[in-house]
């Protein structure tokens, strides 16, 4: 059972984690707007690191290591989204506005306050 996990599941998780880290890196460089870039950085921090740690937990044979890695995972899952949130908050506080699609901006005349009917009129 453990060998099956180690042979099949853990490498997949490891590769997936590396992919998300890579995607985060590409996103930080290529995305057009501050908030999308911040989301990319948050992705690589949370999901990328998280999946790699889960894969390491499956690879390690020692209960000691598994518990330590589990604690590190919990810490990362708590702090990475919080740091993304802090970044976004600081940006809004400084006045950075996100890029919005043109039809949403021109829909300001529609005074629907029930959630905003964002149906595409095209």
């Amino acid at each position: 059972m453990v060998e099956a996990l180690q042979t099949f599941v853990a490498p997949v998780l490891l590769v997936a984690g590396c992919f998300f880290c890579f995607a985060g890196g590409v996103g930080v460089i290529r995305f057009p707007d501050f908030f999308t870039r911040m989301h990319a950085a948050g992705v690589s921090d949370t999901i990328g690191a998280g999946l790699i740690i889960v894969a390491l937990m499956l690879f390690s044979m020692d209960l000691n290591d598994v518990i330590k890695l589990g604690l590190i995972l919990a810490f990362i899952l708590i702090t990475s989204p919080t740091s993304s949130h802090a970044l976004a908050k600081a940006a809004v506080h400084a006045g950075v506005m996100p890029i919005v699609a043109p039809d949403v901006a021109s829909d300001k005349d529609a005074r629907n306050s029930d959630g905003g009917d964002s149906s595409n009129s095209s």
Binding site: A86, K89, H93
Partner: protein, 301 residues
């Protein structure tokens, strides 16, 4: 910002070179505290320096001559990484072979830092203490009117709750790093910085006044001096028992337990002073209001 990134990358390089203690300290101090203090300093000062009226040729020539002499002195050092440098031949082998049986501490870095080269570490600690005194002397007198900074972030609920969860864990981790420095990477400097960063996090999110009720100005002043007193006091205690200054062997009857006690006490002194100085420097920088932020509209959170 770039200096913070540089510190983080050099910390990763240290990890790759298997120098865990150095990487730890570099990440905590370089990527954490010094970036924060730099940002604080930038918030306190003006954008452009005042133009200098007179040229100081004497200072320039002294600096150039001293720098030139230092660079000339380094030309005599062995090539970088060469295997037959004296540092690698004589002392390193001795430390690696003998440190465990002589000091009883498995972490060779801590043994060298706290026992074999304890006097140098005391010098580092005194430098940190002097830096704290310097900040106090420069900033304390001009801020009799204690204006709290504009952003106490009182409406940031998520950050407050998460930090309330994390701050006790950070402090516990600081204590762990302090006392576990004998067996793994760690020691006084890292632990002091981590402990200070817990208080600094609290101060950022709940306001400097709240942080000052936790660690009052008096307490930070006393603790900063107490750490150095503990360090030098251990040295003097060794002298009182008949040995040289900071020769821990004379603290107890048996050598290994005496070394362990000495290392414990001096690392504790280091941790206490570093934590107190870092907290006090940060709180001193927090006196004046920040530069004006753009006006916040009502709906913005």
């Amino acid at each position: 910002m770039l200096s913070g990134i540089f510190s983080l990358i050099s910390a990763s390089l240290f990890v790759m070179m298997d120098a865990a203690d150095v990487a730890f300290t570099e990440a905590a101090v370089g990527a954490g505290i010094s970036t924060l203090l730099l940002l604080k300093t930038l918030a306190l000062t003006r954008r452009h320096a005042k133009p200098q009226k007179k040229r100081t040729w004497l200072a320039l020539s002294i600096v150039t001559i001293t720098g030139g002499l230092l660079i000339y002195g380094t030309s005599d050092l062995p090539a970088y990484g060469s295997a037959d440098a004296p540092a690698h031949q004589h002392l390193s082998a001795y430390y690696l072979e003998k440190s465990v049986e002589e000091t009883g501490v498995p972490n060779v870095v801590t043994a060298i830092l706290a026992s074999y080269r304890g006097f140098d570490t005391m010098g580092e600690l005194v430098v940190i203490f002097i830096a704290g005194i310097g900040v106090l002397s420069l900033l304390e007198s001009t801020s009799k009117t204690k204006l709290t900074s504009a952003s106490s972030l009182h409406e940031h609920t998520v950050l407050r709750i998460v930090s309330k969860m994390l701050i006790p864990l950070i402090m516990m981790f600081a204590l762990y790093v302090q006392f576990h420095g004998d067996y793994g990477p760690g020691g006084g400097f890292q632990a002091g910085v981590i402990f200070a960063s817990a208080i600094i996090l609290y101060s950022i999110l709940f306001g400097p006044d709240a942080a000052r009720t936790v660690m009052t100005d008096r307490v930070t002043r006393l603790l900063a001096a107490f750490g150095i007193l503990l360090y030098a006091g251990t040295g003097f205690a060794a002298m009182a028992n008949g040995g040289a200054f900071l020769d821990y062997t004379y603290l107890r009857d048996e050598q290994v337990s005496a070394q362990l006690l000495g290392i414990l006490l001096v690392e504790l002194g280091v941790g206490i002073t570093v934590a107190a100085v870092m907290v006090r420097v940060f709180l001193e920088f927090d006196q004046r209001p920040f530069t004006k932020l753009p006006a916040l509209k009502e709906g913005d959170r």
